[in-house]
C-alpha cells in the first residue's frame, strides 16, 4: 500500500478515477459502451477521442519541459497544420483522392516540424529564453494561419482526411490509435535508449551536461522539432474531426492545457525528470474534466471556476508538503520526500539553456 501511494502516478490516477466515478453517479450508464455502425460508442470512447490531440501536444510538451524549456507556440502550430492541410485538399479536383490527402498531410507535418525547429534554433543556437522564443511564434503563428486561409474558415469534404480525426480502425477511433502509437514510439525511444536520460540531464543542468560531453544544443533543437511535429499531428486531428480549418480558434489555449497535463502528470516545470505516462493521465484528467462539466450540466458561466477548483485539488494532492500537513500521521510515514511524486525537487539547479 505504501509503495503504491508513493508511486509518482498514484495521485493523478486517483483524481482521474474520482472524476470518472463522479460522472457515474450522475449518469449510471456512463461506462456503457455499445457498437454503433461497426465501431465502439460511449462516453469513455469520446473522452479518449477528443483527448487524443491534447495527449499528442502534451507529449511533445513533456519532452520540451524535460529540458527545462517550454513551448507556447503549439496552439498556433495546431492552427497552421490544419490550415496547410485543408488549403491543399480544398484545391484538389478530387478531395477524396488518397494521393492529394497524403501530400497535404506531409506538407502540414513538414511545416509543423519546420516551425518546431525554428523554436529550437531560437532557443538552442541564439540563446533566447524559451518562453520568449516560443511566444514569437505563438503570436505570429495565428497570423500565419489566418494568412494561409485568407481569414476564412475552409471547409473540405474529404473522406480519407476525415479518417485521421473522426475515423475508426478495429472498432477504435483512429485518432486514439495514432496518438497511442506516437506515445508508444516516443516512450520506447526515450526509455530503451539513453535519449531520455540525456534529456533529463540537460534539464537538470544544461551547462554541466555540455561539459560532460552531451550535445545539449542539438538535443534541445531536437525536442522542439518533435514538439512541433506532435502539435502538427494534433492540428491535423482537430481540423479533420470537423472537416474544416479555423485559423482563429483551432488549438486556442491548448498550450496551457498541455502544460497543465504535463504538470498534473508529475513532470516539473524546472526540467529534469519527466513522465510520459503521467502526461497521458494528465491529458485524460483534463478531457474528463470537460466531459464532467457537460455531464453534470455545470453552467458555462461557472465552468472555469469548477475546472480551477479541480485543478487546484490535483496540484495540492501532488504536493508532499500539503499531504503531510493535511493527512498528518494517517499518511505514509516517510523520510523527506527525496523520491516519489514530488515534482519540484531541489536537485534541479537551473542554468538557462
Amino acid at each position: 500500500m505504501i509503495t503504491l501511494t508513493r508511486h509518482r502516478l498514484f495521485w493523478p490516477v486517483v483524481v482521474l478515477v474520482v472524476l470518472l466515478l463522479g460522472n457515474l453517479l450522475e449518469k449510471p450508464d456512463f461506462f456503457a459502451i455499445r457498437i454503433q455502425d461497426g465501431h465502439l460508442y460511449g462516453s469513455v470512447i469520446d473522452i479518449l477521442r477528443f483527448g487524443a490531440p491534447l495527449m499528442l501536444v502534451a507529449l511533445g510538451m513533456t519532452l520540451v519541459i524535460a529540458t527545462g524549456g517550454i513551448d507556447l507556440s503549439v496552439g498556433s502550430v495546431v492552427a497552421i497544420a490544419g490550415a496547410v492541410a485543408c488549403l491543399h485538399i480544398s484545391k484538389q479536383p478530387d478531395q477524396n483522392a488518397i494521393g492529394g490527402v497524403l501530400i497535404a498531410v506531409v506538407m502540414a507535418l513538414g511545416a509543423a516540424l519546420l516551425f518546431g525547429a525554428f523554436n529550437g534554433i531560437m532557443v538552442s543556437r541564439i540563446g533566447i529564453q524559451p518562453i520568449i522564443a516560443t511566444l514569437i511564434l505563438m503570436v505570429a503563428g495565428r497570423g500565419i494561419a489566418q494568412l494561409i486561409m485568407d481569414g476564412q474558415i475552409i471547409t473540405i469534404n474529404s473522406t480519407p482526411y476525415k479518417w485521421i480525426g473522426a475515423g475508426w480502425l478495429f472498432t477504435l477511433p483512429a485518432a486514439v490509435l495514432i496518438a497511442l502509437a506516437m506515445i508508444a514510439v516516443t516512450a520506447l525511444i526515450m526509455r530503451r535508449s539513453a535519449l531520455g536520460l540525456l534529456l533529463e540531464s540537460v534539464g537538470g543542468n544544461a551547462e554541466a551536461s555540455r561539459l560532460v560531453g552531451i550535445q545539449s544544443r542539438s538535443l534541445v533543437l531536437l525536442v522542439y522539432a518533435i514538439c512541433g511535429l506532435c502539435a502538427g499531428l494534433a492540428g491535423l486531428m482537430i481540423s479533420s474531426n470537423v472537416s474544416s480549418a479555423d485559423g482563429n480558434n483551432a488549438g486556442l489555449l491548448i498550450e496551457l492545457d498541455a502544460i497543465l497535463a504535463v504538470v498534473i502528470g508529475g513532470t516539473a516545470l524546472t526540467g529534469g525528470r519527466f513522465s510520459i505516462g503521467g502526461t497521458v493521465i494528465g491529458a485524460l484528467v483534463i478531457q474528463t474534466l470537460s466531459t464532467t462539466v457537460y455531464t453534470l450540466g455545470v453552467p458555462p458561466e461557472t465552468t472555469l471556476i469548477f475546472k480551477a477548483v479541480v485543478v487546484t485539488i490535483v496540484c495540492l494532492l501532488q504536493s508532499p508538503a500539503f499531504r503531510r500537513k493535511v493527512f498528518g500521521r494517517w499518511g505514509p510515514r516517510r523520510t523527506p520526500p527525496a523520491s516519489g511524486s514530488a515534482p519540484s525537487e531541489p536537485t534541479n539547479v537551473k542554468v538557462p539553456a
Partner: protein, 330 residues
C-alpha cells in the same frame, strides 16, 4: 554569429518600419481626398479590423455600396485597436468629411473624440456595435442587428413547427462564448420566447465557444447523456456545423431526428440546409452597406432619423436555401 545577429536585428527593424508604415496608411489622413467641394458626399468609415469572414463581408458591402451610391468613402482599418480608431476619426474630423461612421472596437471611452466630432459639426453613425455613453446626442443613430430579436425569431420558427401539438419538446442549446453580447442576447431572446409554453424544455445548455470543434465536442456529450433530444438551438452556424457531425456519428439524422436551428447565415450553413441537415437559419446580416449609405444621404440632407435602426435580416428555411445559396456573400 555576430553577423547573423545583426541580420536578425535588421529584419526586425525592417518589419517595424513596415508596420508603422501600415499604421500611417490606416490614419486616413490624406489631403488630396479632403473636402466635399465637388458636391460629392464624403464618408469617413473606421472599421474594426478583418478578424472574421463576417467582418470581411461587412467591409466589402460598405465599400461596394458607397461606390454604387456615388459616395466618396474614406476607409480605415483599426486592426482591433481603439487608439487606431480614435486616430482615424480625428483624421476624418481634420479632413472635414461630411459624415463619420464606425464600428467601435470596444464600447467605452468614446466620449472625448465624439465630442470633437460634434464640435466640428460632423454627424456620427454607429454601425453593428453600440457605444456605452450617457450622452446619446454624440451620435445620430446606431444601425445593427438586435441579437435578442434573432433569438426570438429562432424561437418563433420552433413554436410554429409544433403548433397545435401537445408533446414535450426537448431542446439542447449551444451557447456562444460566455459573456459575449450575441451569446447573452440570443439565449435571452430564445429563452423568453419559449418560456410561455411549458412543453418546450431546454434540457442542456453549454457553451460551444462559437467554434465547430467545441460545438462537436459538446454535442457529442449531450447525445451521450440525453437519449431523447428533439431540437438543437445553436447560437451560430459554426457550432451547428460541428454538432451536425456529432449527430451523424451518433447514428442519428441531423435535421430529421434532431431539428437544428442556427443563427448567422454563412455559406456553409446554407449548404447544410440544402443537404437537409439544418432546418432553419436566422440571418445576422453583415451586408449593411446599402442601408448605411441611405442613412448617410438622409443625414447630409438634414432629415431626422431614428436613434436605433435594425439591419434588414431574414429567416431562411430549407425550401428557400437552394435559391439563396448562390447569392450568399459570406
Amino acid at each position: 554569429m555576430h553577423v547573423s545577429r545583426r541580420k536578425i536585428f535588421a529584419v526586425v527593424a525592417a518589419a517595424g518600419l513596415v508596420t508603422s508604415g501600415l499604421a500611417a496608411c490606416g490614419d486616413g489622413t490624406k489631403d488630396d481626398a479632403a473636402g466635399g467641394d465637388d458636391g460629392k458626399i464624403v464618408l469617413g468609415f473606421a472599421q474594426v479590423g478583418a478578424e472574421s469572414g463576417w467582418r470581411t463581408a461587412n467591409t466589402k458591402s460598405i465599400q461596394d455600396s458607397a461606390k454604387a451610391a456615388g459616395i466618396e468613402l474614406q476607409f480605415s482599418d483599426a486592426q482591433q485597436k481603439q487608439e487606431n480608431q480614435i486616430k482615424a476619426i480625428r483624421g476624418y474630423i481634420q479632413q472635414k468629411v461630411d459624415v463619420i461612421a464606425f464600428s467601435p472596437v470596444v464600447n467605452t471611452g468614446w466620449d472625448p473624440v465624439l465630442k470633437e466630432a460634434k464640435a466640428a459639426g460632423i454627424p456620427v453613425i454607429l454601425t453593428d456595435r453600440a457605444v456605452d455613453s450617457t450622452d446619446t446626442s454624440l451620435y445620430v443613430t446606431f444601425i445593427g442587428s438586435d441579437f435578442i430579436v434573432e433569438g426570438q425569431r429562432a424561437a418563433d420558427w420552433l413554436l410554429k413547427q409544433y403548433e397545435g401539438k401537445n408533446e414535450q419538446v426537448n431542446i439542447v442549446e449551444l451557447q456562444g462564448s460566455p459573456g459575449a453580447a450575441p451569446a447573452i442576447d440570443r439565449k435571452k431572446g430564445f429563452g423568453d420566447a419559449i418560456a410561455a409554453n411549458p412543453n418546450f424544455k431546454i434540457i442542456a445548455s453549454q457553451t460551444g465557444e462559437f467554434t465547430r470543434a467545441k460545438g462537436k465536442e459538446v454535442m457529442t456529450a449531450f447525445l451521450q447523456s440525453n437519449p431523447d433530444i428533439d431540437v438543437l438551438y445553436a447560437h451560430n452556424d459554426d457550432m451547428a456545423l460541428g454538432a451536425i457531425q456529432a449527430i451523424e456519428e451518433a447514428g442519428k439524422k441531423p435535421g430529421v431526428d434532431i431539428k437544428i436551428i442556427s443563427i448567422d447565415g454563412v455559406k456553409d450553413a446554407f449548404q447544410a440546409m440544402v443537404d437537409g441537415k439544418i432546418n432553419v437559419v436566422v440571418e445576422c446580416n453583415p451586408l449593411l452597406g446599402p442601408q448605411l449609405m441611405e442613412l448617410v444621404q438622409k443625414v447630409t440632407k438634414g432629415e431626422t432619423i431614428e436613434k436605433r435602426i435594425l439591419t434588414e435580416e431574414g429567416v431562411f428555411t430549407q425550401d428557400q436555401a437552394a435559391a439563396a445559396l448562390p447569392t450568399r456573400e459570406y
